[in-house]
């Protein structure tokens, strides 16, 4: 699914978080949205997902304003797993709460796809590590076979080894399943590894865009500072 965003604006109270955002998410490509914490990346993908409204601008999904959000899926920053449900029930949430019982085979297959041992099937989220929670959240996001997957800082809170494993996994999943991916992150390494093209947001506008493989060759000063880890405000 191709998604085109034009002149999008969003404010909370009187403060504009997104001042003027225009970008295109290409079908079956992995688009990375980069930016500092608090620059509105998460808000942007929640607007695209229609979880939040926006003040002005337009979003076209395959050139239409309407979209069936059943085709979308999201991996949340900290997993957003339901604490009172088992791992299997989290993954097959929709079927579980609708009293369907034949989800075991599909859940086990997904657990295997995301590298989770089947011994975790009956465990609760509090009994597994942060890295495993991300895997469960990814399995839950894949359960409904989405056409577009939104990944909100998938490597946040993970050590470099686990971050690398999650990046590998994401790359493998989006390549094998041929789905459109939109990832937000401030991790340049993840962007280069998992993305096709990137957009860099700062102060509510797109400051830079391009090919992920050429991120390090950017000429944009603000983005260069970001890459170097310097404080962009200075």
């Amino acid at each position: 699914m191709k998604i085109e965003i034009k002149n999008l604006k969003k404010k909370f109270n009187e403060n504009f978080v997104l001042k003027d955002i225009s970008l295109t998410i290409e079908k079956n490509k992995s688009t990375i949205i980069l930016g500092q914490s608090g620059c509105g990346k998460s808000v942007l993908i929640k607007i695209i997902y229609q979880l939040y409204g926006f003040d002005s601008g337009s979003i076209l999904y395959n050139e239409k304003t309407e979209v069936d959000i059943e085709k979308f899926s999201m991996l949340f920053q900290y997993g957003a797993l339901f604490d009172s449900l088992k791992i299997s029930e989290n993954i097959a949430f929709t079927d579980f709460i609708n009293n369907k019982t034949d989800f075991e085979k599909k859940v086990l297959s997904l657990m295997s796809d995301v590298g989770l041992d089947k011994s975790n099937f009956d465990k609760y989220p509090s009994e597994i590590s942060g890295g495993m929670k991300k895997r469960v959240a990814l399995a839950r996001a894949l359960y409904k076979n989405p056409k577009v997957i939104f990944l909100d800082e998938p490597t946040t809170g993970l050590d470099p080894i686990n971050s690398d494993k999650i990046n590998e996994l994401i790359l493998q999943v989006i390549t094998n399943r041929k789905i459109t991916a939109v990832t937000i992150t401030h991790d340049i390494k993840s962007a280069i590894k998992t993305g096709d093209n990137y957009y860099f947001i700062d102060k509510g506008i797109i400051q830079d865009k391009g090919d992920c493989k050429k991120i390090l060759k950017t000429k944009n000063k603000v983005f260069k500072s970001f890459i170097k880890g310097a404080d962009i405000k200075q």
């Binding site: 997902y49 979880l51 959000i69 999201m74 949340f76 900290y78 929709t94 009293n99």
Partner: protein, 255 residues
């Protein structure tokens, strides 16, 4: 100028919150009329509320009944009307103390936990996750809690009434020297169905108030640990005030 703006901001915020709250109630009824019940979720929530509340309900009932018997004796013995104690205990408990004390205790025990749980779900993006999983949070979170608590409170009040009367009986018979058969007979003969039902109607109202206010405070909490704390405090304070004020109007209604 800033001072005047600040004064004006208070009623604007108040009316905007009230409007939001009434819209929330309207949406609750909208989804209740075209319900999608998650039976397992509803049932487990009802059982959970029931089991976790029984100990405090028992303690509230027994001590209220015991204190009521002692205090009534202090007053009535001054004009030789001790025989009215069973009547006063049962009437006060069923019409007034049972529903109000149960409401306040449940708002502290269950209301706070509902608000904290939902506010934490909001902070950890679980509410957003529900939306992405095509699940309406009114049906999944709000309806089970409101229905469970609205149905559970009359049961709790009946228990408090019964245990309270037994508490009054224990003190009256073993401490104040009442005849046991006479005490029970007076209690049963004096109590009318109307007295009991007026308390039950109050219980249903209080159950609805506690659950809807707690769900609202949880769902519209601010982010972070402070937001969860505020949601919990607001849920208990607002529920308690609404219980006490609506109690007056309901009492007027059944007067």
């Amino acid at each position: 100028m800033k001072f005047i703006e600040n004064i004006g901001e208070i009623p604007i915020k108040l009316f905007s919150s009230l409007g939001k709250f009434f819209l929330f109630i309207a949406f609750f009824f909208k989804y209740l009329l075209k319900p999608k019940f998650y039976l397992k979720n509803n049932l487990s929530y009802f059982i959970n509320i029931f089991i976790s509340s029984i100990p405090i309900i028992g303690l509230t009932g027994i001590f209220s009944g015991m204190v009521l018997a002692l205090q009534s004796y202090t007053g009535f013995s001054r004009f030789s009307a001790e025989s009215a104690i069973p009547n006063i205990v049962v009437l006060t408990l069923t019409r007034e103390l049972g529903p109000v004390l149960t409401g306040l205790m449940i708002s502290a025990r269950v209301g706070s936990s509902i608000a904290a749980e939902i506010a934490t779900m909001r902070v950890t993006e679980q509410i957003d996750a529900l939306k992405t999983l095509n699940t309406n949070y009114y049906n999944y979170l709000v309806t089970p809690r409101v229905i469970s608590l609205t149905l559970a409170l009359p049961i709790f009040v009946t228990l408090v009434d019964f245990i309270g009367v037994m508490g009054g009986y224990l003190v009256s018979v073993h401490r104040l020297g009442f005849n046991d058969n006479l005490y029970l007979l007076n209690t049963i003969n004096f109590l009318s169905l109307g007295d009991y039902l007026s308390g039950i109607i109050k219980a249903v109202t209080f159950g609805f108030i506690i659950s809807i206010v707690s769900c609202y405070c949880g769902l519209f909490s601010d982010k972070g640990a402070f937001g969860v704390g505020s949601a919990t405090t607001n849920a208990v304070v607002i529920s308690s005030i609404l219980i006490l004020s609506s109690n007056y109007f309901l009492t007027e209604l059944f007067f």
